[in-house]
Each structure stands twice: as C-alpha cells, then as structure tokens.
C-alpha cells in the first residue's frame, strides 16, 4: 500500500514538471545552410525554421541575424531580420536568406537571435533564445572549386575536337594508304 502511494506521488510530480516545461509558448529555432559546397561569389542559402512546441501562441516573434556582415557578404534575397505577429502552438514557420560570400576562407556560422512574447498582453513575459549554429564552413575560391568539382563537359568536348588535327588526320591518312595496299595484297592472294 505504501509502495503504491509512493509511485502515485512520483507520477504526479513528473506530470507537473512536464506541464511546467510545455506550458505557454515555447519556440524551437533552427538555422541550416542548405548548400553542399560554399563557394565564393555563388549563392549560399540559409534557412531558419521556428517551431512552436508550447501549448499556447507565441506573439511578436522576432528573428535577428547578425552573423553576416556586409563587408563579407552580398545580400541577394531575404532579410537579416524577420517578424511574425504570432506562431500558433504546433505551427512551423521558415525564413530564407540568400547571400554570396565575397571572399574565400573558413567562416563560422553562428546562431541567430530569436525573441517573442509568451502571452498576448503587452506586458507578457518576453523570451529570448538562439537558433542552432551550423558551425564552421569552408568557403571555396571559385577557381579552385571549379577545378575540383565542375564537370566541364563543354571544355572536354572542345578538347576532343582540338585533338582531331593532331591525332585524327594522321590516322586517317595512314589508314587510307594501308587499306589501298592491303586490298592489293588480298587481290594477289585470290589470284
């Protein structure tokens, strides 16, 4: 009897703790670099994902990205700051930023800042958090990248065409002469 009571008490404490953990709005934020290779002067796509795992709506959600400086990157599409009025419980939102690295180097992709109100009231508690941080990534020099990874089909086809005068023509001339006298030899054998 005493044991059953003790187990029931433990279960209630656990549930209470769980309720406390998921009560109100609670945002999980991610930051992903979608490119397999990061290349100088080529588009890099950064995707931010926000998921409300709480049981109430998150209000006045701000995403603030300060990782990318204008001296290092050209901004192609998207903004470094985003705002959502509300994110319902269980809802996802994504934000995308496309930029081009100006120089090649190892770059540290750090976390972006996320801020939101846990209640609708103006004086509701403000929560501040961070997205995941992708970490360090190698930005390739464009020439080096092309040298190692680009297929260069057109360049190889052109090279094969360029080989015709030095390889194809001598072979054709030799083969034509060879055939001419081999035919004579075959005719001789037949006779």
């Amino acid at each position: 009897m005493g044991l059953v009571l003790w187990i029931a008490m433990c279960a209630l404490v656990g549930l209470g703790a769980a309720q406390e953990a998921t009560s109100g709005a609670r945002l999980l934020a991610s930051k992903h670099i979608l490119n397999q290779h990061l290349v100088q002067k080529k588009d890099v796509t950064v995707q931010y994902g926000l998921h409300n795992v709480g049981d109430s709506t998150a209000y006045d959600v701000h995403l603030d990205e300060s990782n990318f400086d204008k001296a290092d990157f050209d901004f192609v599409t998207g903004f470094t700051q985003a705002h959502w009025d509300r994110i319902a419980p269980g809802a996802n939102v994504t934000h995308t930023l496309i930029l081009q690295p100006k120089e090649y180097r190892i770059f540290n992709f750090t976390a972006a800042r996320v801020q939101y109100r846990t209640g609708e009231a103006r004086d509701a508690q403000i929560a501040v958090g961070w997205t995941s941080s992708p970490g360090e990534g190698q930005i390739w020099e464009i020439n080096q990248f092309n040298r190692l990874f680009a297929p260069h089909y057109a360049d190889w086809i052109t090279f094969l065409i360029m080989c015709v005068p030095t390889v194809g023509i001598p072979y054709f001339l030799w083969h034509t002469s060879k055939q001419r006298f081999e035919i004579s030899r075959v005719a001789t054998k037949k006779q």
């Binding site: 020439n143 092309n146 040298r147 260069h152 360049d155 052109t158 090279f159 360029m162 080989c163 005068p165 030095t166 390889v167 001598p170 072979y171 001339l173 030799w174 002469s177 060879k178 001419r180 006298f181 081999e182 035919i183 004579s184 030899r185 005719a187 001789t188």
Partner: protein, 191 residues
Amino acid sequence: MVFVLAGKMSKKGGSKLTQEEELLLQDFSRHVSVRSSALFYGSGGLAALTPIWLFWRIHHMDLSVYWLAYILVSAASAWLIAFAYKNTKFGLKHRIAQKREEGIAREINKQLQDDKKVTKKEKDERILWKKNEIADYEATTYSLFYNNLLYLFGTVVLSFVILRTANPLMNYGLSSLGSAGLVALLSTGTK
C-alpha cells in the same frame, strides 16, 4: 646491307651511287629532309599546344599570367615529341616497306603491263622508288598519330588522375614534360 653498300662506295673511290643504291640507302637512312623536319616540329608544336586548353579552362591557369610557362613547356615538349616522331618513323619505315612491297609491285606491274618500252630494270627501280615513297608516307603519318595520341593521353592521365591535387603550375610542367619525355623514351626502344 647498308655496310655492303658502304663497302662498295669505298672500293669505287668516291664514284657516284646508282639510283637503286641511293633508294636503298634512303630506305635505311635516319636522315630527315627539311620538309619532314618542319612537319615534325610543326606537328609536335601543335600537339604540345593542345593541352593548354585544358589547363586554361579546367585548371584555371590564365594565359595572361602563365604565358611564359606555356611557351617554355610547349617548346620543350614539342622538341621531345619531334624527337619521338623521328625515332618511331625510322623504326617503322623498313617494316612498312617490307609489308607493302608485294602490293606496290603488283600495282606498278599493272600500270606498266602494256608499256613495252619499259625495261625490267626500270620497272624494278620504279617499284623501289614507290615502295620508299609509300613507306616514308605511312611511317610518317603513323608516327604522328601514335606519338600524338600517346602524348595527349599521357598528359591527361598525369594531370587529371595522378597530379590532380597538385599546384596548377607544377601539374602543367610535370604532365606535359613528363608525357613528352615518356613518348621520347618509348620511341628509343628497339622493337
């Protein structure tokens, strides 16, 4: 046979060779005419210039930056390739002459069968002359084809497989000169 002819020459004490002897000597001679020499250096130069396209387009070695390396390496490679042409041609010419003898004799006999004025000696000389001409032509064209193919293939394998990650300048120098050197070395073989 060359030594026998040389012996005859010394006995005659500087008297002129017959046309037949001259043709036979040509058959075995390593001498390359000015025209053939120009063809060899021209073709060797063209073959040595062809890989520049790959190094410019794929390895991103700009012509404006690496022009001196391109000139020096191409000139050295062209010389080595031309050396290989001469050796390969010399090795092939006599073998081709032996193989084509029957076909050429048959063709000449066919051409002259109605001409009663032509003596047997004249006919033999014509066959010998034609055989020398055809052997020279086929040996030259085959030598160009074989050495160019070997050089270009060697350059591509060295540059894009073995030295793929090497510094572009070193890659170019070693690939082109290495391949041309290999072609020259193989041409010195007795078989």
